[in-house]
Symmetry: C2
Subunit: 356 residues, 2 copies
């Protein structure tokens, strides 16, 4: 073992391609008391600020004699937080951290404050499902991509048929955001292991933000994605075994798709839904629902949001709309903003309610 | 449609969280003549250089009046290339590009020069296999992760049993590097569609670089990974239907694992194998193989390498060793270095040779 370590040290110190170049600094450094130090090396920069969802405001970093800017945030609540540096006005992610937010627009780094107790999104010693990356054919005859979580013990040709949750990401996110940032697979693993959630299949499509503003994504869901799942997986196909959930623009899409297809979905759960879209106005502007049918047939209609979400006004307008119509709507308001920390909490709250 | 576009434009211009913040600059910009422009915004930097595997040397970038550094490289051969910027001596990836090299050590950006003809790694309109992210239990009773490619038409409980390729990444890479950088799944899709490669299962484990220097990874392969695959997938379990291939440190592991387990593997294909490891010395330092048995039983033993690979001397020492012993060894020398451009070429060369 000593030989191995010595070899490793020599290789590292000579900086071969086999190993990473030595990082210029260590960042982020999570300390045992859940404080965390962020560092960024930029000798000539005039200003480096930390933008993080830990703190409500950007924080100035200070430079030492070697040109390394740093800041330490004390006692952070264990969770996974996005952050970035703004260097002389330009946002960059952390060049010393390979854990990144899966997103097509911004490219922020993530810091995982694990704490000393396992969280609902932590990798725990329980049976694990698997996540499959699959292709399907979209309406435009293009190749669409989606991720599919199948639970522990899943057997594609076994006798068990599973209920299905369709889980939609937010604006400019990708099909990987619900697993890589939202840890949907680990949350499901943990809740299933505890007997709190039913074994289910979770489908995470890629939904271009622009498409989510029109009926294009909903049409793709109904005409391509759901048929793909139902012809390739052993799934229950009655409405009481089909749920839809999504965040932000994907939360708006959830309300559009779920409530416009009552014959298909019994569970419609929107997280901080962004509803100022042409599609939402078209569906709900002059909506005269058969309220009794909705209330009888929906096993769950919920809207969850953070109290300091920047879209709280928009979310409240949706809540008011559904309350005015007389729909049985569950709402939950929690601290925090339009964040994936809250997304994980929302999903962990929803999963035990599905397919009861 | 006009309304939607207008809404999108308004939202983008007001910079909501729903959409990415407007990037400070566009980078990389691939032009129709396959030239590519890289840009980096850093008003106060004294020097910004482009490090890319397109050019043999780092290239100075020049700053315009608005503080944007840029460089254009003419007529690039279509491929996927890693690159980074070095800003006043500090390596950073491209903050305006979300396509990143999957690696635990460095964090480089990737530029995909698609060209006007589909390449063997391009997404083409052919049947697609799927890539599954799975967990298994390692010898240390920890949760190991691996990716599994199953070919188009795969049926977990069908009558078809598949041959298996174990495909090992390089130093500090992750289990995602062979798909996200090496496009192994698309290469397999395309070659299977053309009838050039047999439908096969491809297993891509995560192998910590340090473990690959000792027998720890080989033991994990033999005791945990292969049994996991063979108890969970419909696979052929005779040696003629099992292959191992890997790059760099993973190429060294390929030679160690493949040649020390002749009863398990009929195909052993190493790409730019890094063999200056304790494990390789232990296995091959005083090796007295039954050469006839090896030559009769190995359907393929190959070593491929780029002529300008920085480890060409080490690779040649392995080639000489096996030639001296009298093993039937196929070698291929191609232009280029220790790169994933070559990894894709090597894999596309190997797949048609397997399981004939």
């Amino acid at each position: 073992m000593k030989n191995i370590l010595l070899t490793l040290m020599i290789l590292v110190s000579t900086g071969t391609f086999l190993f990473a170049q030595r990082p210029s600094v260590v960042s982020p450094e999570v300390h045992s008391d859940n404080s965390v130090t962020f560092r960024y090396s930029a000798r000539n920069a005039k200003s480096v600020t930390l933008h993080t969802e830990i703190l409500p405001e950007p924080a100035e970093m200070t430079k030492d004699d070697s040109g390394v800017w740093s800041i330490t945030i004390p006692s952070v609540e264990p969770d996974i937080y996005p952050y970035s540096f703004v260097v002389d006005g330009i946002e960059v992610n952390d060049p010393n951290n390979t854990y990144l937010f899966a997103n097509e627009g911004f490219k922020r780094s993530l810091v995982d404050i694990k704490g000393d107790k396992p969280l609902v999104h932590s990798l725990q010693n329980v049976p694990h499902g698997k996540v499959s990356y699959r292709s399907y054919t979209t309406a435009q005859d293009r190749t669409g991509t989606l991720l599919i979580y199948t639970p522990p013990g899943f057997d594609a040709n076994g006798e068990t048929e599973y209920p299905v949750l369709y889980l939609i990401h937010g604006g400019s996110d990708t099909e990987e955001t619900w697993t890589k940032v939202g840890r949907a697979n680990l949350i499901a693993d943990n809740l299933i292991a505890q007997g709190k959630a039913k074994p289910m299949i979770i489908v995470m499509p890629y939904a271009n933000t622009g498409l989510m503003f029109s009926d294009a994504f909903g049409n793709d869901m109904m005409n391509n994605i759901i048929p793909f799942i139902e012809s390739n997986y052993p799934v229950l196909t009655d409405r009481e075994n089909r749920a839809i959930t999504g965040f932000s623009v994907g939360g708006g899409a959830t309300l559009n798709i779920g409530l416009m297809n009552l014959d298909k979905f019994a569970y419609v759960c929107a997280y901080a839904p962004y509803v100022q879209t042409p599609e939402f106005r078209s569906n709900f502007g002059d909506w005269s629902p058969d309220v009794e049918a909705y209330n009888n047939q929906l096993k769950k209609l919920s809207i969850y949001v953070g109290e300091s979400d920047q879209y709280i006004g928009i979310v409240n307008s949706a809540i008011e709309l559904f309350n005015e119509k007389g729909l049985d709507l569950e709402t939950m308001f929690v601290p925090g903003g339009h964040t994936w920390m809250n997304c994980k909490l929302f999903l962990a709250t929803t999963l035990p309610q599905l397919f009861e």
